[in-house]
Amino acid sequence: MISFEIPPFIENQMQLIRMVAEQAMRPYSRQLDEHEHERPEAFVAMTWPFTQEMVKRALKPLMAQIEANGNGHNGNGHSGNGSAKPKKEGVDYGMLSFIFMIEQLSWGDAGQYLCLPHPMLGGAAVDSAGTPEQRVRFLSKFTEGAPKWGAMAITEPGAGSDNSAMRTTAVLDPDTNEWVLNGEKIFITNGALALKESDGLCVVWATVDPTAGRAGIKSFVVEGNTPGVSIAKQEHKLGIRASDTVALHFDNARIPFENVLGDQEVRQTESRKGFAGAMKTFDASRPAVAASAIGIARAAMEFTIEKLAEEGITVDYTKPLHELTAVERDVMEMEARYKGAWLLTLRATAQMAHGESNRLEASMCKYRAGDAVTWITQKAVELLGPKGYSREWLAEKWMRDAKINDIYEGTKQINQLIVARSILGYSRRELK
């Protein structure tokens, strides 16, 4: 039944996260923007206790399931295709609350939000492609000890949207039963935090057969402080400067055989079934990026509306468009684009929470939200005039932060392509 009701526990959670945003993020936004490679310590210290609880809650049903299967009960088992995610019964409130959390944290500061001590994209990849046992094994480390980070490494200098061009290799060493990774990965969010500054993990996509294209690609879990992994470069960016973005170099980095994500079949070197499972990561990560975009958009929109109100400019919603000033129309347009993109994001999220496929809707929300936040923040700087352009306020930073949402987790154009193929029923060959 169609409903827009937000569960009360999420409303409560939002209040708490807003407090985190106001106390541990906003006061440090400018400082971290101007000192690019400093870490958001206050934010990490404040959120680590919460994220540990979140991961514990998420793992609990999995552990029960594994135990039941071990005792010979007929559990939900594997859905094949490299994805071992159990079929959902009821509603996955965890996913829903995570999306709302991302939105509110990004309202606080999108760069700092990306430094959340949490499995993050690495976790999404483990959840999408890993078996229940793998999920418990890799994600349990996020429930104890010192703060840890998760990352995912796909992009290479020669392989952006075209991940079939990937050159990073994984070769099984039969003597030690280890995968040996070699290659270069770039634009890795939290790469240094996950692998050098904590005992976290990074899911690395690599090919077991460079001649096989996409079919040879599998995803591998590289854990923190693995020998042979080095930071090749720390990036300097337009925005989200608080976020750790690095290039990783793999030089005979050895990881255990069991660290390839997927079931027994996927784990075989000759299997060509790893890619589909790995791609499922995006069905979860795209709504997450959209939610982050929406958080920035809301920050910029609320701030603009507040400052305009101080100047005596407010929108009278009973007036027809032709009686509104240009500025009032712009504000209305901001609100419309923000709300539309947020509703698309909530739809893709609700589909996940209800255990439905959402590939088309995930791409739709991702590209609309990226588009919306880019326009809204650019408009905010414009409407705020010289004060908007000044580094005294955060509007100009939000505009720089916003643009990444048009780019990462698939550029707008790649997501349009996915939507186009889906609505036309076309293959990659028919619509290039």
């Binding site: 169609i2 919603y317 419309a336 609700a350 589909q351 209800h354 809707e361 392509l417 028919e430």
Partner: protein
């Protein structure tokens, strides 16, 4: 809990209307547009789907099953079929829904049973005025209290089915505030003038009307002494129109998509090109976004919220979306898009109306 899936009853209803739209409306709509008349049997079949009798409270002979969300789902399917037929079928709503929302007990008892009959009652409403910059909150038509009567003056346009109407709900400003008055068409001073000559929805008969010192009993003021919550009525109208716009846009998108897949140029379907495919992707995404805005506003209305702000934002976005999508549908068909043998030019003309149609449909 957040959920974007219609329930079983809603699915049955939308399937019924979709069948009506596909098998009845789409068979006649182009000829109706050219002739300027909707076949009576088509309009009657639309009424017989029974939306309004279902919505009227049980106390007045209906089933009391009224939901704006369900209404929005219905309007999208009607809108997909044809806008002129939609407005024709929905004309009785223009009195029934304001009565349900704002009528006094006596007014409801007098009029609501009319809407549970086999045949549609001959009623309509007059909101829009023939001016350049129309604002429904600042009407030029006036209502002045004179003892136990009201005296109405003014001109109205876009009054659907006015030529057959027995009762018109006339909106007019009383001391600058928009109110509504139940006016029998036989009353002195009311004239049904020329039929409107419109850019689109040409199958629908709408008229100009003039009120010159029309006297009606004070009891005919909708809502009694207290009057109406005009925003509430207007917001219901905006949801209905926006939902119809989503249906119209979907029709345009589907037609353009199917055309692009079969139209071959340079040895392959034009949909194989990103310039066409991306246009279609944008259309599909914007339609989905607009639908969600409509559903959310409808849902808030069902929760009893004041959605004046939400409805304004929704209207802003949906009005622009439907224009854009209809325009791109014509563009996708190229030269054929401009030819009246194809439906997309009609949808472009109809789409342009949504910025003007306030009050022409209500759910």
């Amino acid at each position: 809990m957040l959920d974007f899936r219609p329930d079983e009853e809603q699915k049955m209803l939308t399937e019924t209307i979709a069948r009506f739209a596909r098998e009845r409306v789409r068979k006649v709509y182009r000829e109706a547009e050219e002739d300027g008349a909707i076949p009576a049997a088509t309009a009657r079949a639309g009424w017989e789907i029974g939306l309004l009798p279902t919505a009227v409270p049980e106390a007045y002979g209906g089933f009391g099953d009224y939901s704006v969300v369900t209404g929005a789902l219905a309007m999208e399917e009607f809108g997909w079929g044809d806008l002129a037929v939609t407005f024709n079928v929905m004309t009785p709503n223009l009195l029934a829904i304001p009565l349900m929302l704002c009528g006094t007990e006596e007014q409801k008892a007098d009029y609501l049973p009319l809407f549970t009959q086999e045949a549609p009652p001959k009623v309509t409403a007059a909101l829009t005025e023939p001016v350049v910059q129309f604002n429904p909150y600042k009407l030029k038509a006036t209502a002045v209290r004179d003892g136990n009567a009201y005296v109405l003056n003014g001109r109205k346009t876009l009054v659907p089915l006015a030529d057959e109407a027995e009762t018109i709900l006339v909106y007019a400003a009383e001391n600058g505030v928009t109110q509504a008055f139940i006016v029998p068409t036989g009353v002195d001073g009311l004239t049904i003038d020329a039929r409107d000559k419109l850019m689109g929805v040409r199958a629908l008969s709408t008229n100009l009307i003039t009120l010159t010192d029309v006297r009606i009993p004070a009891a005919n003021k909708l809502g009694g002494e207290a009057g109406i919550d005009f925003s509430l009525i207007l917001n219901h109208s905006r949801v209905a129109l926006a939902a119809a716009a989503v249906g119209l846009a979907r029709a345009g998108f589907e037609y353009a998509r199917d055309y692009a897949k079969q139209r071959v140029q340079f040895g392959e379907p034009i949909a194989h090109r990103q310039s066409i495919a991306f246009m279609l992707a944008d259309m599909a995404t914007e339609i989905d976004e607009a639908r969600l805005l409509v559903w959310e506003t409808a849902w808030q209305l069902d929760q009893g919220k004041d959605v004046t702000r939400e409805a304004a934002i929704m209207k802003h976005q949906v009005d622009r979306m439907v224009m854009q999508v209809a325009d791109r549908a014509v563009q996708t068909l190229g030269g054929y898009g401009y030819i009246r043998e194809y439906p997309v030019e009609l949808w472009l003309r109809n789409a342009r109306g949504f910025t003007t149609f306030d009050g022409l449909a209500i759910i």
